[in-house]
Symmetry: C2
Subunit: 337 residues, 2 copies
């Protein structure tokens, strides 16, 4: 039974471990600094399919199959979602998985939502093993949210690149591995930003709201973590988050960064403000962050993926961009005990 | 801690009650047989807004506000989703609710997913009260999935009408009211149907898979229920479900019906095969079914909303329609004890 800490944070009382992770990425992501952390890098953006949408599903399915192979286990429940309209990226990937599935939508925060919810369900005794997984595909997302690639639209310097990437983790009751020890559920925060080429500005206030709520609920400071890693704010969003936090006197840990800044070589790759998309934080977590925890390099981190809850339709109708951020404390086993 | 029954079914061990419900519907739905069961009927399909999408959000927000008024309580968590791309119907409705939110996508099964997940989270001790809510809007859905209304497209006799409706329930730990005593999580079932004007055919196999799994897991027969009510199969889908069930020797309870058949007067209203949309089963449950349980008219029912996990894009790409169905046992307090 999870312990409530304040209004937004839950602390599992039983050990919930991140037993395994898998990450599959596209060519551009495979040319970034984390390339050797991923299980597979595809040189074919189409993943052998005839549409970008089907390509995303094949990538996510491959990631799920790898996770099952690595963990030698079929999970009891799947928690998944993605950016495609009606979440077809994940439902088509998993349609013949033959495992109970609950679909989620948290935009680019989906991995945080899935891992947090999975931890609560494992802690509550409902399931012994839950797979949290999500994906995004640059080409499918451009067509979905902006314009088909064939138009050759120019991108703004503040725009981010939706990662072609999939990530999956297996959450298990007990056993070895880093543990999910707290989950701060985000509230929607809408700062009134309407510029869809500057998602970082729309999302930084949501990220700060959740980090602040997490610190209030748990009595911890950001400096109590070896690393605080948001998802998908990109370079400008991260700067804004730093400014918002500093304005309220927050101090930063040694590693205070963002999955969107970790995925690419910003100085060499044409990715503007950095990465975004459900798959960005999912693959960076499953490929990179998890290994840093497994090796003991980091003992306690805060992983806080952010999501922009708009659509092409709402933006065309002049609406602002609501954001949400879910945060998880993940600790190596010796610290968590 | 929920008790596992078989591969797909969870039984909360603590009492999780459906403490309150609220339903808001549009004009056509208010002309159906359940009209006096709904809290509000709007004569304005626009709900005072300039777009159908914004109308849906205003309707859902009104439903949420009514639920808070009726239950005299702000829930600790919101579980919501809808049919609009990127689930903006619900996120825009709730963007200033200031309550932690987890977004779901289960298409027309969303109410079942939200109520089941909410019951597990309340049972697991994570939250004392959870609001499950969802909506759909006929005009927004037509534009989203088929064609703008202005085109005046003809509809097939097997097509269903997406309900303009919103439903919300409050799930609470303990207290008075009917109880959620089992939740069968669906698996995706794809029977290869590609006709998007005949969703009932695509969804009936998913409904039967889940009903069968529920009976296997719990050791119950459908006839152990006062009523078995699926969500959104419509008239033809329901006939197909009966045929699938009969083929395996299943017997039916006295009341074996579908929310899509309950919502409209099929003989008088131009709704073809019946209702569909997230809001259909949500409003029929919150407005009608819940009252039948509260009054003791029904002691034990099985509520099984179904969802079609396709999008306009996947259909245009020639893909089939994967379906999912989540089922909940809900019992009046005296039976549940």
């Amino acid at each position: 039974m999870a312990k409530r800490l304040g209004a937004q944070t839950l602390a599992p009382e039983r050990p919930v471990t991140v037993a395994a992770g898998a990450a599959v990425v596209g060519k551009t992501e495979g040319e970034g600094p984390l390339w050797e952390r991923f299980d597979e890098i595809s040189q074919d953006s189409w993943f052998g399919q005839k549409s970008w949408e089907a390509a995303e599903s094949v990538m996510l399915r491959r990631c799920y199959d790898l996770l099952c192979e690595k963990s030698r286990e079929t999970p009891e429940l799947l928690l998944s979602g993605d950016l495609q309209s009606q979440c077809t990226g994940s439902t088509f990937a998993l349609r013949d998985a033959d495992v109970p599935l609950l679909g989620l939508y948290g935009a680019c925060s989906t991995m945080g939502e899935a891992m947090g919810l999975g931890a609560l369900l494992v802690d509550g005794g409902a399931f012994r093993s839950v797979c949290a997984l999500t994906s995004s595909h640059f080409c499918a997302a451009e067509r979905q949210f902006r314009a088909p690639l064939e138009y050759g639209s120019q991108r703004s310097p503040t725009a981010q690149r939706t990662a072609t990437a999939a990530g999956a983790v297996l959450l298990r009751a007990g056993g070895d591995g880093p543990r999910v020890t707290a989950f701060t559920v985000g509230r929607i925060t809408d700062a009134g930003v309407t510029d869809t080429t500057n998602m970082g500005a729309a999302l930084a206030p949501a990220a700060w709201e959740t980090l602040r709520a997490h610190c209030t609920d748990t009595g911890r400071a950001l400096t109590d973590y070896d690393a605080v890693i948001t998802g998908d704010l990109g370079r400008f969003g991260h700067e804004l988050l730093e400014a918002l936090a500093a304005r309220e006197g927050a101090e930063f840990p040694t590693v205070f960064t963002d999955c969107g800044m970790l995925l690419y070589r910003s100085e060499l790759q044409d990715v503007h403000a950095g990465g975004s998309g459900c798959g960005c934080s999912a693959a960076v977590f499953a490929g990179h962050i998890l290994k840093c925890l497994q090796s003991g390099f980091w003992k306690r981190i805060l992983f806080a993926p952010t999501g922009a809850l708009m659509s092409a339709v709402t933006s065309q109708q002049g609406e602002s961009i609501p954001g949400i951020c879910h945060a998880l404390t993940i600790e190596s086993a010796e610290v968590a005990q």
